[in-house]
Amino acid sequence: MAKIEEANEKAIKEIIEAKPMGTGVKKAKDVIPGMTERTILHAGPPIKWERMSGPTRGAIIGASIFEGWADNEEGAVKLAESGKIKFAPCHDHDAVGPMAGIISPSMSVYIVENQVHGNKAYCNFNEGLGKVLRYGAYSKEVIERLNWMEKDMAPLLAEAFKRSGPIDLKEIISKALHMGDECHCRNVATSHIFLKIMAPHMVETGFDKETISKVMRFMGTNELTFLQLLMAACKAMADAGHGIEYSTIVTALTRNGTDFGIRVSGLPGQWFTAPAPTPKTLFFPGFKEGDEGRDIGDSAIAETMGLGGFASANSPAVVQVVGGTPQTAADYSREMREITVAEHPSFTMPFMNFRGVPIGIDLRKVIETGILPLINTGVAHKDAGVGGVGFGLVRAPMECFKKALKAFAEKYGARE
């Protein structure tokens, strides 16, 4: 068998065999590798403060206030400009973050362990929609919510995880795909299943009733509660297939609001970037065209794993937000088969005769067919401090894939 085909088969085998388990909650600085007291992780490929998008800057301002490094916007901006904060991509630290994807040292994160290969992945908590840090908002209510999450929610979840033992996240995703989720923009079923599993353990912690009730209500009314666990699970699975010599499989699609970046299994340690596109957006009430920022967030790790836009057939409701029909949704999933090498046996789509979601984006296929990965996404306001403006659909830019193919050919000696 040709080297590339053999390598891709191995990468997909590892990715499919991976078994991500939710095992606990701890402070980022205590568990994320390389996280120092002055590190801030962000979504997407590497970027300097000067080139950061509005929502990323806004979330960094908020994180600096949350950490107590600054009292206000002015102080936080000054600190960021001083070079005293180390900015780094979540992906380079075994982590993922939705939207701006800001993880600062004192934030609590979910710990996800891939029980088959031993690698871990981390992601912070979901704050809900609207004025939230991950969309670039940093007002008083945003900081107060983050503080409450640290004070009440994190200790309760940490204790509940000790009681529950490892939670099989792959099983939750598999079930939710049969309950109308595409597991990116729609995480209704995943969130409900997770809460159902955790509820008795939370009650049994012995924490006071008011705290338990408030946390359960917060998690129960937030239909994106599970997104962060899902992302960490996807990261843990995708990383199992990363770093395999000769493999052309894409192991991360991600954005920072300025650049779109991809990682390729056979090219570890390298990022391939292009300007981030602007999503086609359905706006929340009060927002209009022109308010939206460019594509942002590590959450496209869902699409990397065949979920989200790739599993559109499961969630016509998501496609409907941009005027699509159930037929359009099915067509999207079919189209993504053209650029992938396998179907996931555990993640299946009822409306596609239970065929598996298309998985394993092959760099060569994207370039050859011109078909670009489809991503379902949240959309942030282009300016710092505002928050979310809607949901949308977007395609990864071709330029990243072209750069990666050139690097691949160079590394593996296929260039003239």
Partner: protein, 57 residues
């Protein structure tokens, strides 16, 4: 033979590539099918060359 004659009398049009030709044929009531074809790598010669080279690996 009958079928062959029918084909000659009633032309069927297979449109390959640009969809607007197919759309205008349909608008005029012509019997046509569309094949969604694009040149490999969108015609980018450098990419086509690299893809060809990778076939040897």
């Amino acid at each position: 033979m009958k079928k062959l004659m029918r084909l000659l009398r009633e032309p069927k049009i297979v449109n390959v590539g640009a969809r607007n030709f197919y759309d205008s044929l349909k608008a005029q009531g012509a019997d046509s099918v569309h094949v969604d074809w694009r040149p490999p790598a969108g015609g980018d010669k450098e990419m086509v060359k690299l893809l060809d080279k990778l076939k040897g690996l």
